[in-house]
Point group: C2
Chain length 793, copies 2
């Protein structure tokens, strides 16, 4: 199975332009595996791919043409009920598959890192005898780089959109912005394998963010019941081959992703709603919740089997924060101002993080745009991360006694243990005896029964480090360790985000925050040594983690709920909310959120929740694009072809008018292309009466990859034909009078998920067209309303 996947990647690397079916042929024809494996593998891969993937090029617009209405009118009550049931089935599938992917990532990371450490262990055992441990260290760094190399190459050469956490892309998608290739099969594959490589490669990254993107791709695939890439159509879920329906399912997928990542089904629902759905629909939300629940259940169920404790449903996510006991008093009300102060610190640090990352990204866009350079940068970061970590541990002498009550399952009893048992990967305790051999380097010779707390922080999976910072006994860390760790990890994480690897920023942020939060707790406790309330620096670590994460990503409601669900203690709701609020307010004063920065750098027409506050003086007349290219109800084919071929305008929606310029409908580029492709011309219909009528199915089959106009051949004779658009246009497009204020137009767009809004005068004549881009231009800057330049996507 794995071999096949790597094979796929290899073949694909060689010929990036060949399409999937070709390459699959090459794989299946030229291979010489032994038969059973080959067949089983193929069957699995085939079912895996064919069952639920499709590629997507998205056009968010409810096709409301007469054909569609006709279908809806024909449909019986029972038909609608069946559709509703299908929606539930799809959401269930989305949940299951997302959970399985999360499970796969988790297990693969464990396995791969396990192999890596096995190799290093054997090497160290060899060299400890003869001296020359630095060689082992180099080996270790090289192995890390190797993983990052694989991940980097996949991302940089095969699918650059899979870089990073994918959250900005999903935000854009749910917002209604077209981003090519964002929910394709290939993206998912690269994302999943990429994140495994980067986490196994020891970068300062998390595997949680990419889960959201993965869930979204799964949803986009399942809901269409076919794979465009693989040219396979299952003839199911055809009704959902529309932008609005697909977007709803993608919301569910993103929620399922959050749910699997953090064990936070409600947080997932709120994330989807916060980022996506502008029109709240009860049934939709309920389905999203269902997908989230199923996803976290699936993950938990399979992981419990994998860990040999079937039925233990206490680990619902890829990360959980461990149990904060609520038996004692959780916090005192007079601590709230302190928490808010920490929120402010988080906001400041977050703004700093974002600013540095902003400049770094600009630098990357200018100078590091070639794939090979991107891969090299990733390798550099991997090497530096390893080196810095090693140096920090090497010079640290923060040795803590190993009490009987420590929380970790695999106590890091010695430095070398920490090097080897980097995570919970290796469950065999055969290491321990090895690790307790006297080390040759004086700094490294740590007494039996002690462990290096710097190593606890640095050489652990980030998830486990976060948990240690939350739950270890007071006194487990010395302040200097925490300070140094915060400093180095801050810059490492900042450098890492935006690399051409697939990786999330949630966990690194939590880790930075937990470190300085715990530091705050320790310092506060040192001022008031007698009072018992400061006894738990873990609480401050939690608050710090929330503050830092809030300062970087600036999410609000959903993040609060995610944190509360991951903590498993509702009592912390209020402080976490206050902290996130403070962090957001302080952070917003200096710099936007990380995701917003990256969205802005892509110059996409992203619509915020409301029009800028001071935009009431703008009217539709000033905002709209004008003049508008309109078509007549019965239009010459030549004119249509010429307009569609005109690359300088590149419009997507065209008002249909009857003379003089009176609006009677709206038709989309994609619909026109399907009409041209099927040559639905008035003259032909007359001459060839037997020609079958164009059906809704033809539009659905073409969705979502409508061919470009250049690929459609129209002869000179045909150019003289006429096309009757009446039956295919949307006969009741939304319109506004020209004096409508911008906030009103904006609300209409946002609430109804529009892409085109026709502006008419009081005679119902078309005088302009408002698109997303026209609205997204306006932005509230420091000096009032500003106009942005947006890319032509």
């Amino acid at each position: 199975m794995l071999c096949i996947v790597f094979e796929i990647l290899y073949v694909h690397l060689k010929n990036a332009h060949r399409n999937w079916s070709d390459f699959w042929m090459s794989v299946s024809l030229n291979r010489s595996y032994n038969l059973p494996l080959n067949l089983a593998g193929r069957a699995f891969v085939l079912s895996f791919f064919f069952f639920f993937f499709t590629d997507v090029f998205d056009e968010i617009k409810c096709i409301h043409l007469s054909l569609f209405l006709e279908e809806e009118r024909r449909m019986s009550h029972m038909g609608f009920r069946c559709l509703e049931i299908s929606r539930w089935v799809i959401c269930g599938l989305i949940g299951i598959l997302t959970g399985l992917i999360a499970c796969f990532i988790d297990i693969m990371v464990e396995k791969l890192a396990g192999c890596k450490y096995q190799v290093i262990k054997e090497n160290i055992e060899k060299f400890t005898e003869v001296g020359g441990l630095s060689i082992s260290l180099i080996l270790w760094a090289v192995l890390n780089c190797a993983f990052v190399l694989v991940g980097g190459i996949m991302v940089a050469y095969i699918e650059p959109i899979a870089a990073g956490s994918g959250i900005p892309q999903i935000k854009c998608y749910l917002n209604g912005v077209k981003i090519p290739r964002v929910v394709r099969l290939k993206t998912l594959l690269v994302k999943v394998l990429g994140v495994i490589c980067s986490v196994a490669g020891g970068l300062a990254v998390g595997k949680e963010g990419p889960m959201i993107h993965s869930g979204a791709v799964v949803a986009a695939g399942v809901s269409q019941g076919r794979s465009t890439s693989l040219k396979r159509d299952f003839k199911m879920f055809e009704y959902f081959r529309r932008d609005t329906e697909k977007r709803d399912f993608v919301s569910a997928g993103a929620a399922a992703g959050v749910s699997a990542a953090f064990g936070a089904p409600v947080g997932g629902v709120l994330f989807s709603l916060e980022e996506g759905a502008s029109f709240w629909n009860q049934m939709l939300t309920w389905r999203i919740f269902f997908a989230s629940m199923i996803s976290t259940f699936t993950l938990n169920f399979f992981l419990s089997i994998y860990h040999g404790k079937p039925g233990d449903l206490s680990n619902p996510g890829l990360i959980n924060f461990g149990r904060f006991e609520s038996d004692s008093v959780a916090y005192y009300y007079y601590e709230l101002p302190l928490f808010m102060g920490m929120g402010a610190i988080g906001g400041l640090l977050g703004a700093l993080f974002n600013s540095i990352n902003y400049w770094l990204t600009i630098f990357r866009i200018r100078y590091v745009h070639r794939p090979c350079l991107q891969v090299m940068e990733a390798l550099l970061v991997a090497a530096v991360t390893a080196t810095v970590s090693f140096t920090m541990i090497y010079f640290s002498n923060d040795c803590q006694p190993l009490g009987p009550e420590h929380n970790e399952e695999y106590p890091l009893q010695a430095l070398w243990t920490t090097f080897l048992i980097k995570s919970d990967v290796i469950s065999s305790f055969s290491f321990i005896c090895f690790c307790l051999k006297p080390c040759i380097h004086c700094t490294l010779s740590i007494l039996y029964g002690e462990y290096n707390s710097m190593a606890t922080a640095f050489f652990n999976t980030p998830e486990r480090s976060v948990r240690s910072l939350f739950h270890n006994q007071p006194g487990s860390y010395n302040p200097l360790t925490l300070g140094l760790f915060t400093l180095t990890y801050f810059f490492l994480a900042c450098w890492t985000y935006g690399l051409a690897v697939s990786a999330g920023v949630f966990i690194p942020s939590l880790l930075i925050g937990a470190a300085w939060g715990r530091l705050c707790g320790i310092l506060l406790a040192s001022f008031t040594p007698t009072s018992p309330i400061w006894a738990d620096p873990g609480k401050y670590a939690l608050i710090g983690a929330a503050a830092q994460l809030g300062g970087i990503v600036r999410m609000t409601l959903s993040l609060t709920v995610i944190m509360v669900e991951a903590t498993g203690n509702v009592t912390y709701g209020l402080p976490i909310m206050l902290v996130l609020m403070t962090a957001k307010i302080v952070g917003d004063y200096f710099q936007e959120g990380l995701y917003d920065i990256h969205i802005k750098l892509q110059s996409v027409p992203f619509l915020h929740w409301e029009a800028p506050a001071t935009s009431h003086w703008l009217t539709a007349r000033e905002v709209m694009s004008s003049p508008v290219t309109c078509f007549n109800r019965i239009e010459k084919v030549g004119t249509i072809v010429d307009v569609l071929s005109n690359t300088s305008t590149n419009h997507n929606g065209f008002p249909v008018v009857v003379q003089p310029a009176k609006l009677c409908g709206l038709i989309l580029r994609s619909q026109l292309i399907v009409l041209l492709k099927h040559k639905v011309f008035v003259e032909l219909a007359r001459s060839r009466l037997s020609q079958r009528k164009l059906q809704l199915k033809d539009f659905r089959d073409a969705y979502p990859r409508f061919p470009p106009i250049q690929s459609i051949h129209v002869s000179q004779d045909e150019r003289e034909c006429m096309m009757d658009l009446t039956e295919f246009m949307n006969a009741t497009p939304y319109t506004v009078p020209q004096d409508t204020s911008l906030p009103r137009v904006f609300k209409l767009f946002r609430a109804l998920g529009l892409r085109h809004l026709v502006v008419v005068d009081d005679e119902n004549r078309v005088i302009g067209l408002v698109t997303r881009k026209d609205l997204a231009r306006y932005h509230l800057g420091k000096h009032g309303l500003e106009e942005l330049q947006l890319a032509q996507t």
Copy 2:
């Protein structure tokens, strides 16, 4: 303080039509309290009332007239920021006040019930010596009836809208339906005092539902910065005197209410969103969440002080379900089908409950509509409840040994104890010795060290009974007890809901469900006595409670989250969701949800989330009201007065046209009335140049109680004047072409919160007007689309 409140009620009873300021004068002038108490009391009551109450007559429509636009355009960036801050301040206040009200209710119930039992105890002590215990029992029933009498009289005579839980009313309000008096000060007072009386009176009711209504009234009051009833204007928050803004705050209030009731801030937010906000706005949601958090924090904070454990923030709501330990395995995946089976039972029982209650309500509407009859029915129910409970305990011989590990704080060691220690009201243990005296009646002579489990279920506050059913040791209840309890309590609760008392249905539902759920658990365990998984009937009690509640109220997402938050264990999320889903599906097959039934019986134009599925063949032309009463841009005053006075049509919105019938704006009845009141006539403006221009403030001052047209005097001369509506109308109303399908119109209404939508032809001429009522008529019944008859509200 309390005296004053009762005084108020007494005075008000005597003269129900006198308005508040008059009655206040009478209170303050005629009283003869000693001075300090009087002054302090008055100051408190005054500040209490004046600070945050107002009365509301609601018209949900964004006034978008030119004046308004002008104001927005004049406002600076800073101005908008101040508004935003005010919104946050208001939400904070809503949270604090809602929390305080919850706290007040909780403490009052404890105190009153405490007094009641003190009296009964003394009486019993007297009669135990001389025989004749039945007299004590009668005294006890009479006391209960007395409480119910007070509550019933307040509700039936003073403010009938305060009956029941108020949730249907709040659902309607948030949906945009005008319900008179629903968010008035008087309603709140009656609601709060009424719920205290009914809970203290021992009815099968909860105090949680009314909290939601209370929170909503608080919000409506605070956000307006004045009290219309008390004729007091604080000149603050004037900007928010609009329907849209007020509705947003009422959402926050309802959420704060849920949050205080169940300690479920996230559940509260979801409740508000599920019931109200159709257009999801991030900042609004965040503010709602803030209000919820503050509310639960306030309640918890003050209750912790009251209970002498300041800072203990572990009791965030009026009810909490106790701690379900997640150390052991919460549930096994093969239990899920069982849970779903229980969900189906819950759906069936819920449908039965709703059907019985439906017929009962119809009966009440027909025959029990006079206030005195309503009060008498309430008294009857109170007496029957007491009698049935007594009989059940009297004949029950389910005596359980009192183990050392029992969960209750005040173990019900003997029947009489349970009679006396009905709740956690009485903390003194002086009862115990009394109770352990040998009783004279043989059935009552319960051995030392045993307790009557029927009494545990029946004679406890419902909240505490629910907790006992969830957490008591296996074997605490015998199946017969549980079965009988379920049966009797089911009918009692069903009879009680809809009485003229202020009371919630949440807790009784939970209690019924917990009882039969625990019964299911016990029965299942008896089939497989060796397997350890059935060891915890408490889990089944929880599932049963969820199933029953879901079967009755049919809430989905928000209820799941509320249950999970009250349980404090995220692991139960999936089973609870599955159960609620099954209960809803099964229940919906037979009967609608309880709240929906009551909403339907009121015949209000309630809009659901989507248009009925099979309504695509309906177009705006068929749905709209036609012909429409239109006004000219410059219209004769006489015409306007005649139209407004015409009670047969009673329209609220009027399209404004220029001849011939071309749409140029929309004006509301309320705006016209303000214009008429201020005599904004063209002729007068010419003759009296010095007359000040009508400002937005004039509209706001009139909001929300616009005078009726009859109260405005227009002389015969004035009738001949003209009015220029240009400046005051909404110049860019939303319009649709006549061929728009019903679902599209519906979506526009729902997403934008419209009340009027003008239907135009392709020449922009008005041909009809769609209102909420036109849309709410259509309903998907068993036999396809049905049309309902709606009341003229």
